[in-house]
């Protein structure tokens, strides 16, 4: 259920990267541009965008792997300080895309999960560790958990590895889980299982989940709400079903039109690509150079986020003009 204070909230988050390190005159790239989002306990927010849109940067900012250039991150309503405490770091955990790279090949599954427990003081006695780890492995359907304690990552299939990575994140005892493309490296037939597992954990443990993906169909299926990211800006957000079924931002509409239909009827034709030669960044709509409906205003001024229905917002001048 909705709580007064979101478990994790980003307000006006900005991240710039200097293009050439060390050179004072180097241009900077705006990877995340004034992003505001809320993660609520027991609910899933999908962050949808193409590669380079800043999805992963947002995840890294939210779990304090990187410091934002501007804006603030509130954990349970309190601003996170630049020097974060272990107790705060514990609350936000990240699951990476590639379970082949996120587990150390030299260490057993029991070690990976056990470390999380020990470091964060969830298991005081070494003797109790195996049982505690096995318990967590069973939460992610690696059962019997005892059998997996001594296994090395290479002995597991991709799906099992991703479940082990989720177990290591859970062992810390987070309130917020950030899953960065958790299934895109996995075979199609095991994706549903991992997504269903994440959904079950979200409700059972009242976790707030950020599901980062490029696949808007899975976001619609899996998340409660969707935020669509384009060039570091959120162009549309709202309840998942509404955003996908009746997209209001031209970019969301393009994403939905381009999604495979799985043989059900003919895919909608894509609008002709239009390329306006515009200078990068600046005060304009990020999508203006590709938008089939762009008007003069879109190039001159950045669109505000305007309400377009029940809990939905879009950053589009056309929506601002015709409410």
């Amino acid at each position: 259920m909705l709580r007064e204070v979101p478990a994790l909230e980003a307000v006006g988050l900005v991240k710039n990267y200097r293009q050439r390190r060390g050179s004072p005159g180097g241009r900077s790239i705006v990877a995340v541009d004034d992003v505001t989002l809320q993660l609520e306990s027991g609910r899933t927010l999908a962050l949808v965008g193409e590669s380079g849109s800043g999805k992963s940067t947002i995840a890294r900012l939210l779990c304090h792997l990187e410091l934002p250039t501007g804006g603030s991150i509130l954990l349970d309503g309190h601003a996170m300080p630049a020097r974060i405490r272990r107790a705060q770091r514990r609350q936000v955990q990240l699951v990476f895309q590639d379970p082949f790279a996120s587990l150390n090949p030299a260490h057993s599954i029991g070690y990976h999960v056990g470390r999380s427990l020990l470091i964060h003081g969830h298991c005081q006695r070494r003797a109790e560790l195996p049982a505690a780890v096995a318990g967590i492995l069973e939460q992610v359907n690696l059962s019997p958990g005892e059998d997996f304690l001594g296994k090395l990552p290479h002995e597991l299939s991709g799906g099992q590895r991703q479940r082990a990575a989720i177990a290591a994140a859970l062992a810390v005892g987070p309130t917020v889980l950030l899953a960065d493309e958790p299934v895109s490296m996995l075979d199609v037939s095991i994706r549903a299982e991992i997504l269903t597992l994440l959904r079950r954990l979200t409700t059972e443990q009242d976790l707030a989940l950020l599901y980062i993906t490029h696949d808007i169909a899975s976001a619609r299926y899996f998340a409660d709400s969707i935020a669509v990211l384009y060039k570091g800006r959120i162009v549309e957000r709202g309840p998942a079903a509404d955003v996908v079924d009746t997209p209001s931002h031209p970019y969301t509409r393009l994403l939905v039109a381009a999604a495979p239909r799985g043989g059900a009827g003919h895919p909608e034709p894509l609008p002709q690509r239009r390329r306006l030669a515009l200078a990068a960044g600046g005060a304009r709509c990020a999508f203006a150079d590709r938008c089939p409906h762009a008007v003069d205003l879109c190039i001159r001024q950045r669109p505000p986020e305007v309400p377009v229905g029940d809990g939905r917002f879009a950053a589009c001048w056309r929506q601002a003009d015709n409410p």
């Binding site: 193409e50 199609v188 037939s189 994706r191 393009l254 039109a257 381009a258 799985g262 043989g263 894509l270």
Partner: protein, 365 residues
């Protein structure tokens, strides 16, 4: 029977709506040498690519789909070899289908002529397939002149410009280096190069996997449009069944080195006969199909450890005792009025095989 003893092409036997074959893979077995011994990766696959058709080959990692395609193009790495089977190519000789040639028997010069001129490939990673230190125009010229020295450089440039226009990159990019092109443009350039010599067959191995959704859709639309216009046949390999269903005429599903099911898209979606196909179709959501997903327990087997019998049996809800011991043979059936094949001892009830229908039998159900 043809003079060289090969069985007659199935052209006459097929329903009128089905085009004659341009490439026919017959009972192909491919193995890799490994320290642990010989590992069969493709185990008796038969697949026909009709002239001008787009056939999708879908499967999960390690199912042998790429190995099958590479074997058909004679591009296997040194550790891989065909242990038995045929790959028949029917060239179009002056408006009539000529004699089939077994691609696996081609030697030196014949093979060089076959590749690119008859069969071209588009690979997943354009950055690894294009030469980073040559402009793309020069690479197209190279490809053309490698096959015909008599073509002038000027003619090659003109052809290059024409090709780049054709795939939507624009002739202005002839002098561009690969790094100056976006991911989508590089993949289009790869497509242009594949089409340089007007091949009859283009094998595409995950050509859009690394691209964003919108760019992927644009390239798929382009492939379809070009294919309709120029009439080449495509074998499109991907792990992503959802996009094949919008794109292909027929879809073949591989698992554990076997061809599990092969059918036109409508039949495959409407009445999947193989439990694996059926599960696969319910394992991903689409933007308008949001029914409950079915997860398939377990994971796909590695080639080194294919289970005995039907490779899918450990994950199959319909597995019988036979499935554990005997490898299923592909059986021909009819669904939605067309010829399909399925390799399963206990196919889905809606699509029980309609007796032993011979492929050539006239009159669809």
């Amino acid at each position: 029977m043809t003079p060289d003893g090969l069985p007659a092409p199935a052209t006459e036997a097929r329903p009128a709506t089905e085009p004659g074959p341009v490439l026919e893979i017959r009972d192909l077995w491919v193995s890799y040498n490994s320290p642990a011994g010989e590992v069969p990766v493709v185990r008796g696959v038969s697949l026909t690519l009709g002239r001008g058709q787009l056939v999708g080959l879908a499967g999960e990692s390690g199912c042998g789909k790429s190995t099958l395609a590479h074997a058909a193009a004679r591009l296997l790495p040194a550790s891989g070899h065909v242990t038995s089977g045929q790959v028949l190519y029917w060239p179009l000789a002056s408006e009539a289908v000529g004699e089939p040639a077994d691609v696996l028997q081609l030697t030196g010069e014949q093979l060089r002529q076959f590749r690119w001129r008859s069969l071209a490939m588009v690979f997943q990673s354009a950055m690894n397939s294009l030469n980073p230190v040559l402009p793309v125009g020069a690479q197209i010229t190279d490809a053309i002149r490698a096959h015909d020295r008599t073509v002038s450089r000027k003619a090659c440039r003109e052809r290059g410009a024409e090709l780049l226009d054709l795939v939507g990159v624009g002739a202005g990019r002839l002098r561009s280096y690969p790094h100056e092109l976006s991911g989508g443009m590089r993949q289009r350039t790869m497509l242009a190069m594949a089409l340089a010599l007007n091949p009859e067959i283009v094998i595409m191995d995950e050509p859009t996997t690394a691209l964003d959704v919108v760019v992927q859709r644009e390239i798929l639309d382009e492939i379809r449009a070009l294919q309709r216009r120029l009439g080449f046949a495509v074998l499109f390999i991907t792990h992503d069944l959802s996009l094949l269903l919008d794109l292909a005429d027929r879809v073949a599903i591989m698992y554990g080195g076997l061809l599990m099911e092969e059918a036109p898209v409508t039949a495959l979606v409407g009445e999947p006969a193989h439990p694996y196909t059926s599960a696969l179709l319910h394992s991903f959501p689409t933007v308008d199909r949001q029914e409950r997903l079915v997860s398939i327990g377990g994971s796909p087997p590695a080639a080194s450890s294919y289970p005995s019998g039907c490779p899918f049996h450990p994950r199959c809800p319909r597995a019988l005792d036979t499935c554990r011991t005997k490898m299923p043979a592909p059986a021909v059936r009819r669904a939605a009025g067309s010829v399909c094949s399925v390799a399963c001892w206990n196919p889905m009830p809606a699509a029980q095989a309609v007796g032993a229908v011979q492929e050539g039998e006239p009159g669809a159900s």
